[in-house]
């Protein structure tokens, strides 16, 4: 056991080194960039501007709106993905379902499609397939594309993300459900607990560790969403579905404002950190120890 620490250090070192080089060090350099004005290209053109970049953010109306979009989207996606994912988990772990494993595989499959491709597929569905179906059924009110009005475009983003991610959190919930001891379920059955009270008073409290993980994953993923945003709506119509990540990307790579974009990115980091840490500490407190 004495040599344990040495081995531990040896095996952890590569990962720590990689993490340091590709995450920590660039992050610190990135903080430095927030104080300069630079196009990101011309050598020697960096200009120190102090906190100007941060001050500028507060008068940036579009950034403010995009925070709103991101919060709206994250709220809806968080609830949607977890409710649907949990429902999937309950269905595929129930005894009466024939072909459980096939169902699991099928529900998980969308997660394996890359965000960009998924976005383009669903763009076609919303723009062409659904209106065509509505046309042939004579539903004249539904022949427009969901992607051309702001509120429904946001909803379309959420639906697509649920379709993609629900299968993923389902896997975590299945593990959680299977970890619930049989005697607890047995006792609940003997006591004649109904479906809903079984769910809310027995299963959910025992599922809290899984819920913590799933909420954390969906929260941070939804905040940072970019690929789906780009491919499905491109931020449109009229930037009404533009998320923070897209705003920052465009600031840096389309408008060539490196320093200002980096300042936004740093604020974005703090934003995500505060939300996810708050979420983890709240849900952790609700976890019950068996």
């Amino acid at each position: 056991m004495k040599r344990g620490k040495g081995w531990y250090a040896l095996f952890v070192f590569p990962l720590v080194a990689v993490f340091l080089v590709v995450n920590i060090i660039p992050f610190i350099i990135g903080i430095g960039y927030t104080f300069i004005e630079w196009d990101g290209l011309t050598p020697g053109a960096q200009k120190y501007v102090g906190l100007d970049n941060f001050i500028r953010i507060f008068s940036d109306a579009q950034f403010g709106r995009d925070i709103g979009h991101t919060l709206t989207y994250t709220g809806m996606a968080l609830v949607g993905i977890n409710v649907v994912g949990l429902a999937f988990a309950l269905i595929v772990t129930s005894r009466w379902l024939y072909g459980r494993n096939a169902a699991r595989a099928m529900l998980f499959m969308p997660y394996l499609i890359g965000g960009l491709i998924l976005g383009f597929i669903w763009k076609y569905i919303y723009n062409n397939a659904l209106p065509d179906i509505a046309n042939s059924l004579g539903l004249t009110g539904l022949t427009g594309s969901m992607l051309t009005t702001p509120s429904s475009a946001m909803l379309a983003m959420v639906i697509t993300d649920i379709w993609k991610s629900a299968g993923y959190v389902m896997i975590v919930y299945i593990t959680g459900l299977q970890a619930i001891p049989d005697e607890v379920m047995e006792a609940a059955r003997v006591d004649g607990v109904g479906f809903w009270s079984n769910l809310f008073q027995v299963k959910l409290p025992l599922l809290m560790p899984a819920i913590t993980i799933c909420l954390f994953m969906t929260l941070s993923a939804s905040f940072k969403i970019y690929d789906l945003n780009l491919a499905l709506t491109g931020g449109g119509p009229s930037k009404s579905t533009q998320m923070l990540a897209m705003n920052i990307y465009n600031e840096i790579f389309a408008r060539s404002n490196f320093g200002y974009g980096q300042a936004k990115a740093f604020l974005f980091f703090i934003f995500i950190a505060v939300f996810t840490l708050a979420q983890v500490s709240v849900t952790r407190k609700r976890e019950v120890v068996m």
Partner: protein
């Protein structure tokens, strides 16, 4: 023992030869790296570089941005290290951004042969020849000769009549598609290009000195745009480039606002009609937009040998038979060298021929997009989405939003 000696001798000979090889390589670059941002030519370009290697021994390695954001990729290559010897970019605002990475090309022999107009487009304000222009491209209304008579669409009134008649038949007179440049940017560039000095005019809009609603060409442009909105059958916001070009190729619409690059899209269809390009008749305008879409640029931060090799390669492309064959037949570039135009001109597709006709008749305006602040297409398309999404938005509101957007880049 004897065998070993021979082996040792042979080995040392090999080593000596590789040493000599190394020493010789120092005087001449054997490898250069090129970034090609023009997605549609990359496969053929790869084949061209293989042929170049066979002929000269210099290997030209290519990187490209297939399906990625080319601008961001190019930035990464340029700032990460100086290994990129040649890259492609467009003249104007983009070239200005990359100025520190652009060498002067005026010492290339082929420059003497290229037409003056094309060279002007790639010369910076301080007289630096920024690159060797690819070709010229032109855009305007691409029309189906069976469905549209250009002599009958010469002003706003006749355009409106044409569009209304088409709508009455339940078809699109003109189809726009949702991509940034095809939905608004290319169209909007025309009234900018029609000003006496488009560059100074664009700058004054960015400065906030000019309100677009006060300029006649823009008022009329907005009316054209409004007519398109009112008579759209298919929603432009949900129509893709593929769908619009497909509808045109199958005769479902008579007009597209596109350029000669769109011809390659029709190759998949059995097109039975003749087509041409006509001007967008804003204030009776009879010119199309035509200019240099891109250029080969040499990176001055590469070593002197690499730069030499890069310039040799570009010169070879434009002077050798193989190079010309690729440029004009495979890439479908319109030749910028008069002698080549005579020789290869008949290979051109109908749309390129039409563009070439406008150029030789001196009926063109430059691409004003070259003077637009980089990144503004994202904002302009957002305005266009608002305009098409809200039938109550007036043309004045449209022009005011555009004015405000330009001013944001001040």
């Amino acid at each position: 023992m004897k065998g070993k000696k021979i082996l040792a001798l042979a080995l040392s000979a090999v080593m000596l030869m590789s040493l000599i090889g190394l020493a010789m390589a120092e005087t001449k670059a054997e490898k250069i790296l090129i970034y090609v941002g023009k997605g549609e030519i990359v496969d053929d370009f790869k084949a061209l570089t293989d042929l170049y290697k066979q002929e000269t021994g210099v290997s030209v390695e290519m990187v490209s941005a297939a399906g990625e954001d080319g601008g961001a990729l190019l930035r990464n290559y340029l700032t990460a290290d100086n290994s990129l010897t040649i890259f492609t970019t467009s003249p104007g605002a983009n070239a200005k951004t990359f100025d520190a990475f652009i060498a002067d090309m005026s010492d290339l022999p082929v420059v003497q042969e290229i037409s003056k107009g094309a060279l002007d487009a790639v010369t910076s304000e301080d007289g630096k020849l920024q690159g060797i222009p690819f070709t010229v491209e032109g855009y305007g209304f691409v029309y189906n000769k069976d469905l549209v008579d250009p002599a009958k669409i010469t002003d706003l009134a006749s355009f409106t009549t044409y569009m209304e008649e088409a709508k009455a038949k339940g078809v699109d007179g003109l189809m726009l598609s949702a991509e940034n440049y095809f939905l608004i940017v290319h169209m909007l560039a025309l009234p900018f290009a029609m000003q006496d000095d488009p560059e100074a005019f664009t700058a004054s809009v960015v400065n906030g000195e000019v309100q677009l609603r006060d300029v006649e060409a823009f008022q009329e442009w907005a009316k054209f745009y409004d007519v398109i909105r009112k008579n759209a059958v298919a929603d432009p916001l949900t129509t893709s480039y593929d769908q619009a070009t497909g509808a045109f190729a199958t005769g479902k619409t008579g007009l597209l606002h596109q350029g000669n690059w769109a011809f390659s899209m029709f190759a998949d269809y059995d097109v039975t009609f003749e087509m041409g390009i006509m001007p967008v008749p804003i204030l009776g305008n009879d010119r199309i937009s035509a200019s240099v879409p891109g250029m080969w640029v040499v990176n001055p931060n590469a070593t002197a040998e690499e730069q030499k090799a890069a310039k040799d390669f570009i010169n070879w492309m434009y002077t050798s038979e193989i190079g010309k064959d690729y440029l004009y037949s495979k890439f479908q570039f319109i030749p910028l060298i008069d002698a080549d135009l005579e020789k290869y001109g008949e290979n051109l597709d109908p749309l390129s021929t039409a563009v070439q006709k406008f150029i030789s008749d001196d009926k063109t305006v430059p691409f004003a997009t070259a003077y637009f602040p980089s990144g503004i297409d994202v904002d302009l398309v957002a305005i266009a989405q608002g305009f098409f999404g809200d039938p109550n938005m007036t043309t004045d509101q449209l022009l005011d939003s555009i004015t405000e957007t330009f001013a944001e880049y001040n």
